[in-house]
Structure formats: structure tokens, C-alpha cells
Symmetry: D2
Subunit: 272 residues, 4 copies
């Protein structure tokens, strides 16, 4: 059974032949879709001190894009749900004090405006890839969108989700492979690395990879990052914390600063 794309319609705006060139997204001198780009930071925005401290350490390493969630769409209502508006205020401070560009998640149509005030890139999480109301509104947003593939989404479905945003007029979309759900029991998800060349071959949009969520294991972040880059990824999304065991969420998949430095070295210093 092939995916819905072939039955209902054709991809249009996300296809390579629509634009002559690969999409590049400019943030002053920082460009996404050009050389390898690293987005890093803790899973959640935690208290101001911790968040600022991590951000400063990462900025010193040359990082340009900082990720941390203020709104967290957790599986369980009893898990930490994020600092919400307060988290956005902290991110604003991070931005001011470190100059880092902010990447943070927008979890529903009600918070797009306040997230867009602070964020340089609005992230749509895997759980919301099929939230077409959100996608439609982000089509009218003037900030770039990082759109994660749903955990059970066919590539065609990811493309169509992006098509919703492009069709609304927002052409700055970054796709992100973050692992698909399979029978594998040694990782949280299965990183579908073949999606990288396939996406690059089909679409002009940049493709990022999130090895942290894909594997759920610190010990696999470095090899999977290297594999992703070798397969042609335009960027990586890495969960980093200076005290990873104390992370308020996703501790198992969050690496420490030292491991992050090793990762950068193994990738030939993309921040350098």
C-alpha cells in the first residue's frame, strides 16, 4: 500500500524543480543549508541560572544556534511540562546575553505569537507533524520552521506537512529526521538515515538530523552524528547539558559538554 500522496495529489512546492536552488536560510552571517550547522542545548529550558550557564559554555565553543524547550508536549501529564512563558523569558535573556539564535518548540496555535517573538526558529515536534491547523498557521509566520518527521510518517507525509507551511507563504522550512518507530528494542526509535539522501534528492529544503531523540542513548550520539553527516545532512540537533544526569527531561539521551567537544572534533570542527 503506497502512501496517500500518490492517490490524492502531487507534491509541488517542496519539490526540487520548483526552485532552481537549494533553500538557504540566512541569520546574518549564519546560514542554514550551506555548511554543516549544529543546533545544541538542553532538552528543556530549566531555571535561568542553569540555562544561561549551559548557553554560555556552548557559545564559547562557537555554537550559533541554541535549542531548549519552554513548552514540552510530554507523553505523561505527570512529567515536567516545561516552564512555558517563563521559559520564553529565560530564552530571551539567553539570546541577549550570548547572541545565540534560539530554536524552541511551538506546541499549539495558541502560542505561536509569543514563541515567535523570542525564537529565531520555531520547532514543530514529531507529535505535531500531523497537526495541520498548526502547520497552516505557521505558513503565515515570518520565522523559519524546523519541522520534525512524525515517528510513523512516510517521507511523502513529511513532504506534505512541509507543503502546508510553504503553501501559506513561509518558504523557510527545515526538515528533520528524528527516528521512526520500529520493532527495534535497543534504541528508542530507528534513525532512518536513508531519508537524508532521499530528501535531498526530492526537495530543495535543508535536512537536519536529531540523533538524540532517534536513539535515546548517549553512547550512540557520536557515531550516528557522523553517519548522518556522511549521508549528507545539512545540520544536527543535539541535546547537551553540562550536568546531563540532572536534566529535567531526556537525561538518557543528553550528552555532556566534554562529549559534545569530542563530537565537534570528530566532525572536523563545524563550529570553527
Amino acid at each position: 500500500m503506497r502512501s496517500l500522496v500518490n492517490e490524492d495529489c502531487q507534491l509541488q512546492l517542496v519539490r526540487k524543480n520548483v526552485l532552481k536552488e537549494k533553500t538557504k536560510i540566512y541569520f546574518g552571517s549564519d546560514i542554514i543549508g550551506d555548511k554543516l550547522c549544529i543546533i545544541a542545548g538542553p532538552c528543556s529550558v530549566e531555571d535561568e541560572t542553569t540555562t544561561l550557564r549551559i548557553a554560555e559554555k556552548l557559545a564559547k565553543l562557537g555554537l550559533r544556534f541554541f535549542r531548549a524547550g519552554a513548552f514540552k508536549p510530554r507523553c505523561s501529564p505527570y512529567s515536567f511540562q516545561g516552564l512555558c512563558e517563563k521559559g520564553l523569558t529565560i530564552l530571551e535573556k539567553v539570546k541577549k546575553e550570548t547572541g545565540l539564535k534560539i530554536v524552541t518548540e511551538v506546541i499549539d496555535i495558541g502560542v505561536i505569537d509569543i514563541v515567535a517573538e523570542v525564537a529565531d526558529i520555531l520547532q514543530v515536534g514529531a507529535k505535531n507533524m500531523g497537526n495541520t491547523s498548526l502547520l497552516k498557521k505557521l505558513g503565515c509566520c515570518n520565522k523559519p520552521i524546523l519541522l520534525k518527521r512524525g515517528m510513523a510518517a512516510q517521507l511523502d507525509e513529511l513532504f506534505l506537512a512541509a507543503e502546508y507551511i510553504l503553501l501559506g507563504g513561509n518558504s523557510n522550512v527545515i526538515l528533520c529526521e528524528r527516528g521512526i518507530r520500529t520493532f527495534n528494542n535497543y534504541t528508542r526509535f530507528t534513525l532512518d538515515i536513508a531519508a537524508i539522501p532521499m530528501i535531498k534528492d526530492t526537495s530543495h529544503l535543508p535536512i537536519f538530523v536529531d540523533p538524540s531523540h532517534a536513539t535515546g542513548r548517549r553512547d550512540l550520539i557520536i557515531p550516528m552524528s557522523k553517519a548522518s553527516v556522511a549521508a549528507g545532512a545539512d545540520g544536527l540537533l543535539i541535546e547537551v547539558h553540562d550536568e546531563p544526569d540532572k536534566s529535567l527531561s531526556d537525561a538518557d539521551q543528553t550528552i555532556g559538554i566534554k562529549a559534545f567537544v569530542t563530537l565537534l572534533r570528530e566532525l572536523d570542527n563545524p563550529l570553527g
Copy 2:
């Protein structure tokens, strides 16, 4: 790798031991969670004439719950997106003229109020099971919620999604198995029938099955409905149209009135 539930928290309100009895939801003399309940109707609300005609035909067969989507979260932005507010007006008319209870989808937090004005049961589609913002707001809604399992959701994750709604104070939640994504290529999804006894054993909430979306094939609706009922399902959600080939969406999985009558007979006339 076990699901997140065991790591982060425990199920609480959805568990069987919290309430002494199985949840029953009363709509006058119609009860969900008691004897087998059938919810049927076209995939989408189409024009007023068509929708009313189908509703009347189904009401004559004894149907009490009518389903049809006014808001459609389609994979592609180029597919029919539903009649939206206009669709709700048509559903209101169906309700008035036929006495049928209305089951219709709520696709984002922005439309909860207007959907709740018309609907007797608000449906959360598979694509939105992980939309925690929507789940939280539905916890404050005074209408029953039919919550579909995400296409790649572990049962624990479905339970936790329900827990969001229950925790908000809305205890009238109906769970719905609608097929999971597997490698199978002869059906759209794989109906996970074992989920039915498992859910009944774990939770006090009623469990429905949607064989239409699960299989994507008309020829499998009757046997899968019978299997679901044999496994203990409290109800079925069936896509029916009086001219199924003309359905504006999901035509491949929509049965005609005649097949629906056969289904009812094979199920020992649950409407009777």
C-alpha cells in the same frame, strides 16, 4: 525498550482500580460502555442534501450516533479540508431533523467551543493523540471525548493521553483502536485487536474500534468488525455513505448502506 510510562510515572486515573465500575456514558437512554454501540456515517460532512439523506437512511436503520467530519486534518493541503463551520451547521441540522447524536472531530484548540456546541461526542483523531495542548483543554470540556490511538502509539501512550483528559476533570473518555502502522502492504494499517482485551483489562474506559481507517478496504470491514466485537469491543466506528464511490474522502474504505445492513445482521442487530 519499554515505553515511557514505566520510566516517568504511573498510570492513575485511567486504571481499573481507580473507579469501582466500568465507565458508562449516558445520552438519555443511549448508553456507551454497556451493550455494543455503533457510530456510523460518511467520512466528511458533504453538502447538506447528501449529509441529511445519509443520516436519515441510517436513522431509519435504528442508528443513534452519526459520525462525519467538518474539520478534516488531511495529509495533503491539496485534499478536501472539510466544510469547517459550515459543516457544523449541517451537523446541527442533522441532529435536529433526525435526533441522531453527533460525533465529529475537533482538530485544534481554536475550535473546541464551536464543535462542542454541536457535537455530542468530540473526536480526537489519531494525528492529534500527541497534541497535549488539545488534550488538556478537552479535560475542561463538558462533552465526552472519543480519543483515537495514534498510528504508532504504544498502549501506555494512549492511556497517558487519556490521563491528560481525565486529569482535567472530564471523565467521559472513549478509547478507539484504529490500526497501527506496520510493514503490512495489503491494508492501510494493521488493526491491533489484542489491544481490545488489553485495554479492558487495564482500564475502566470503553474501547471502540474503527475498522474503516484500520484496513482502508471495504472488503475487510465486516470480518474485522466481527473480530473486534468477539474480542470485546464496546463499539464500532464505521464509515458509511449511500454512494460510497462518490465520497469526498476515504472512498476506498467506506461501505454502502446495503453492506452496512449486512454488517448489522452479522453482528446480531445491535441497533435493534
Copy 3:
């Protein structure tokens, strides 16, 4: 991506249109492919006393087909590998003393002859569905074959495996759905009940279901058996032991005699 069938060839001998009637397999007055048939017994042939005792208890309930493995293709070389030839001798004794028909697994081409001397039906396990050498030789065997679907086999691939046997001249093949590997974490496999009507619609061969291996859980055997029968299964393969907790293999999915009696009652006493 569709399965290989469509690319390489067409199904021929397994298709419904080849024979005018549904395949029935006669064992004296016992017929497979007619009314519901139950095959039951312990996972493995254990010592003679235990095996005979279980067989006698089941025969008293009216059982006609007894299953137990003498050769066990276990995942681990450190697990019990079956009694092998000695197990066959025990099965021969069971046959003589109880009159039960014997269903037992043939795990390689080297043991076909000795298994066929004792067994009334030779079982090909899920792990061997793709063992084409075995399938070819079984095409020349004069005993019926119960062919289990591989845990990741498309239906087309199951049909083609059967085609190997039929093409060799052995037309007595019983197909068996035993669960497919999916992301589900509450069962060992996911029982694909839609395969039952699909197989019946495509092929003239009888279709059995093995809820024991499919679920790996005792508590799901009864509801899944009922669902399978409701969906049209021609027979069931059930792991039963009179002291299930002492089973040498698959204890978690083996039910006791009492539960088996309950199952029979819930199925309207198919043993008559």
C-alpha cells in the same frame, strides 16, 4: 514499496481460481478446512509421562489433533533444544495410545523423513518460512504441511512460500497466521487478524491462527481465539499444558487445561 510478487511473478497454484473448491484435508472422519479445527498441546515434547498425561487429558475433551515439538529451533543455543528423535518416539506412543493425530515441526531437510513417519501434519515454523530448500522438499512429501507465516512476511511472501510446496506436488497446505513483528511492546508479536479474511479471499487453502505465539500472553488467548474465529479462521493452534508454569518452553503463553476448557466453551464447543 510493494512486495516482490508483483515484480517477479504471479501467484498461481495458491489462488482461489485454480481449484473450484476450498481445499479440505481428510484424516479419516476428521476434516481440516471444514468446521473449526483445534490443534492443541504443549510447546515441546517433554518426558514421556508428562506428554502422554497431557495428551490423554486433551483427548478426553474430544481433541483430535495434538501438537508438540520434538525439534525446537530456539533463538538461543542455551535454551532447551527439544528431545529430537526421542521426542518423535514419544509422539508415536501418544498417537498409538490416544488415537490423536500428531502435528509437529520439521526444522530442516535432514529430518523430513523421520518426522513424516510419525507426524500426521508437518509444521514449518515462522523462522523457516523463507527456507526454500525445506519448502521444495516438502513439496514431495506425502503428508499435509502447516506453514506458518514468517514474523516479517508480507502476505504475498506467505503465498509464494506455499506455492513452493504446491508446485512440488503436495497440495495439502494449511496456512497459519502467528503474529507479525511490530513496535507493540505489550505483546510478543501483533496478531494480524485481517490476514484471515484476506487469505480466504485470495486462496483456497485453509487458514489457521496461533494466538499463543502471536501474543505471548495467556490472558489474551481466549479473546484472540474468539476474534480469529469471528474473522473466519478454519482452525486454531493452542499451547496447552496441564502444569503450564512448568513448561520447558513458552510457559508465559501456555494455558492450563481449565483455561482450555473455558476457551472451548466460549467457542461453542468445536470439539463437539
Copy 4:
């Protein structure tokens, strides 16, 4: 639900701590488990002229290990089943005339001896990973075994399959990741690249990758090969034909000589 390993037994001989060093397999001056090793050749042994011609072209490029199947366990009995014994004779000639080491599949216990006379490495295909009779006999074989992961095998199950061979006394086992079956519809299987570092971290055995079978697409062979090497693969298994469109099997995933040369260049000339 975790895999059987944890329930039944523990891995022993395949584990890293058993041997002090990583397993290396010596073929004169050619070593597997040391620097990157490439095994290449057509899917099947075709006629003598074609096979010799391809082998010579590959040998000229510096290839040391030639792969081609004489026995083919095809899904369909109507597909080309390989030249069998005649294919082995051709492989023997290839060996003599080109000096290439031969890697070819052994599909059942009946042909181990004749395959081992010609082959330098005996391949166990994905379909036979669970064929424990074959694994046991290969434990007594004095030739190295290349063991492919089953398409639905957990890593633990792959390790246990290798354990069968090691336990028999044959310590020269090469593991091979060749893609797992998932819902993905743009590739034949999903290459599970995280398996590479995971296997290296758990076991002392070399790990190869087969991007040809994993993806089923020529256009993905180069990026997936690069990704596999970046993730730490010890070797690659590549389907190459000098007229790929004329391949008797697997034409869609077979690359031509020119693409193979490009691959070698992109991998920094491992044939060196």
C-alpha cells in the same frame, strides 16, 4: 516486551569480554576486521562468461573479495533459483583465474560441504538467520561465516544466531546488517545504522553492511555506504554488475562499474 535473550539466557561467546581483542580473520595478507573491506559482485552467478568478465573488471580495481550467489533462496519459485552446482564450478574458475576470494551463500545443510569446497566465506542469508540446524552445522565448518541479520531480528537474536556458530567451534563469524522491515515505503528495508556501533560495543565480531539489499535502490548505495563507514562498519557488501540492468536478480539495487568506482573514490579508495 524485551527480546528473548534476557529471559532465557545470556550472551557468552559473542561478547566483547570473552576475547581480549577484536576478531580478525586472515586470508593470507587480506584481513577482515582490520581496515575497511569491500566484498562486491553480482547478485547471482550468471553464465561463465559474464561472471568471469565482471570478476576480472573488479579484480583490476583491486577488489579482493568477490560475491555472487550460486544457490538463491528466492521468494518465488518462479524466479531464477541460481545455477546451483554449476554456479559453484563457475566460482571456482573465477577464483583460479582472478585470485579473488569467493563469498557465496549456503542455503541449507545439504550443500554446506560442496559450498565450502569453493567458498572462502560462506554466507548465511537473512532468510536463514533463524535456521538453527544450518547454524549448528556451520559451527563445525572450517570456513568463515558471514551471517546476515534477519529482516525482523532484534540485535540480541542476531547475537544468539552467531552464538550457535561460535559454540560449535567456528570462531570466524562476520555479522552483517542488511536492513530491517519497517513501514517505510521508499526503500525495500530500513538500514539500521545504529546497529553498527551497538554491535561493535557489544561484540568482538566484525560488522559488515549490505546497503544493496537494505535499500533496494541504486541511488542510495553511495550515501548509505559512506554513512555505514562513518558509523564504524568493518566492511561493505555491494552488488555490482557491469550491465546492471541485465542482472538476473536484484537489478534495481545493483550498481554499475562506474558507480562502483565513484563509491570507492568517495570512500577514500579502500582497495588501495
